[in-house]
Symmetry: C2
Subunit: 337 residues, 2 copies
């Protein structure tokens, strides 16, 4: 691992100049500082964490996820992280990230320049530039719902999708449903892949047939439902499992628009249990993600990484919340079998 | 969830008698105390954890695993757990467990009777009586290398077997090995199942053929090697991947006994990196489990469960430790292909 001396030698400057650059002293130019930082990152320099911990500053980078209103998925995740970090006397900066910021500055450089001891990343997608850089980051980093192979500085935190989807499928199966449709979240995401595999495993374990025409993907927005609901019902689905409560909300509207009653004609299950789920008509049966706990847990795992415990992944238990959007399959449908 | 009042009503005794029974007061008979405890457990009574935390006593139950000498796998796991617990002002009792103890007393009763706030279980097997009871335990419990479905009071801590086995297979493949044999640990264990699946996945990903006659299972003892090594070499294996360093030690002896040189004729890879691995002749290439960190992490997860964060599983990164028991496949073997 490169030392300050190595960086000084490479740049042909003094050790104290490198040190000033790394620590953000005011008596060197911004341009020289950037050169020092870029070189440090390129050479794999990493701060001696246990000594730097007195900074007690963590970054929470957030992209593609709303978190400012209590109704939004990210709200409690951010809150839980901050609550646990504050309790342990860390400061947290919340930093919304755009593709442009990622193009302008390398991930490690940003962390180093701003004196963070580690970061929690929420809402990033696999193709994001910083995600690519995480394969080699030397900064303690916790990712929400994303996984990086073989780098002991990066850990993944999320809800166990397999157990969650399995609870939903078992719940519907217990209510007599056999033709269960699935509207999954966005393609090319770790959790969508997990949930797809989980759905197929659970259906198989329950002895239920998987119909490719009863499965679809879409963004986590209500409009996703429009592409699927009519076709799924026409193909005989009696229940629709959704990748998020937002999609489920769209499914319920769509059913009602076409004159189908939820849950008497069609049962609907969501995922997440965000605030509005209980207030829908009918109130939504869903798989709860403990978002505040996910945030708290992310802090615990980040703190462990900072203390050199190489955690790779941590998953939380989901929970089935039974409300009124699911019911026993109608006798008309049961008779068709 | 049952309260002290419910227990009193069921037994037809006063609330203060139940309270005395639960708290181990000296002025009720041992027999009545046991009845109170058994009833409390049967009715799903659980102590109000956040209030009871002033006890600050944790149990570390250990079975089928040696931990008293620094050479043994369990030593650092136990040490790491105790170190982190002590640092956070918890007392830890180390309790060796026999099948007899499990038959005599229910898991929850034992915990409740002795005033523990939670427990870490190491070395238990799937068929153990207490393992069965964990499906419904209300006590915060962390299991090493074992997983319980659907109970938010129980979490699993272990090393990521998939990444570990993949590192080993890639390492051997990079050295030109194609016929790679695998001696896995005991059957009917979660980690053996994971490693078996991991081995087959990794071989497939590397484009290597899997030979059923080059795979075996056995106890984590050197003698396991005797059943396999000659046959594997006769069948053309040029490398043997082992489920533990102890098995690998037996494999090296067995090779030498039959006149084969490690690594010139046969490469050998272990798993764990216990203390003796570096001292073998030749020093063993192996997949390191950070045992002290596993113990530290188990404490962190147990403390999270005690604070009602429903962690389901946490895995640590393995690390490939390259020593001299692996080498480039011999040209004689390479020519055969």
């Amino acid at each position: 691992m490169a030392t300050i001396k190595d960086i000084a030698a490479r740049l042909g400057v003094s050790i104290s100049t490198v040190s000033k650059g790394l620590n953000g002293a005011s008596d060197i130019s911004e341009e020289l500082r950037q050169t020092v930082l870029d070189t440090a990152v390129e050479m794999g320099y990493s701060t001696k964490r246990s000594r730097k911990v007195e900074n007690r500053k963590l970054a929470l980078f957030i992209e593609n996820m709303n978190y400012e209103s209590i109704d939004e998925f990210g709200y409690d995740v951010v809150l839980g992280f901050k609550q646990n970090a504050f309790k342990h006397k860390w400061d947290v900066d919340i930093i919304p990230v755009t593709p442009q910021l990622q193009a302008e500055e390398k991930y490690d450089t940003y962390i180093l320049k701003n004196g963070y001891c580690g970061a929690f990343l929420v809402g990033f997608a696999l193709h994001d530039e910083w995600m690519q850089q995480l394969k080699n980051t030397t900064m303690p980093t916790v990712l929400f719902d994303n996984y990086i192979e073989n780098n002991p500085n990066v850990a993944y935190v999320g809800t166990d999708s397999y157990e969650g989807i399995d609870m939903a499928v078992k719940h519907l199966h217990n209510l007599g449903h056999k033709k269960i449709a699935f509207i999954n979240g966005s393609l090319f995401s770790l959790v969508s892949d997990q949930r797809q595999e989980a759905f197929e495993n659970s259906m198989r374990d329950a002895g239920l047939e998987i119909y490719p025409e009863l499965m679809g993907h879409g963004y986590y927005i209500p409009e996703t439902a429009q592409y699927y609901v009519s076709n799924f019902i026409a193909a005989g689905a009696t229940a629709i499992l959704c990748g998020s409560d937002t999609i489920a909300k769209g499914v319920i509207s769509e059913c009602q628009l076409h004159g189908f009653n939820v849950p008497n004609d069609i049962s609907v299950v969501g995922f997440d249990d965000v605030k509005f789920a209980a207030a829908l008509t009918p109130p939504l049966t869903t798989i709860r993600q403990e978002r505040n706990d996910l945030g708290r847990c992310a802090y615990i795992i980040l703190n462990s990484l900072i203390h050199h415990i190489p955690i790779s992944r941590t998953q939380l238990r989901p929970m089935l919340i039974e409300r009124e959007s699911t019911a026993r399959v109608s006798t008309a449908h049961a008779a068709e079998e």
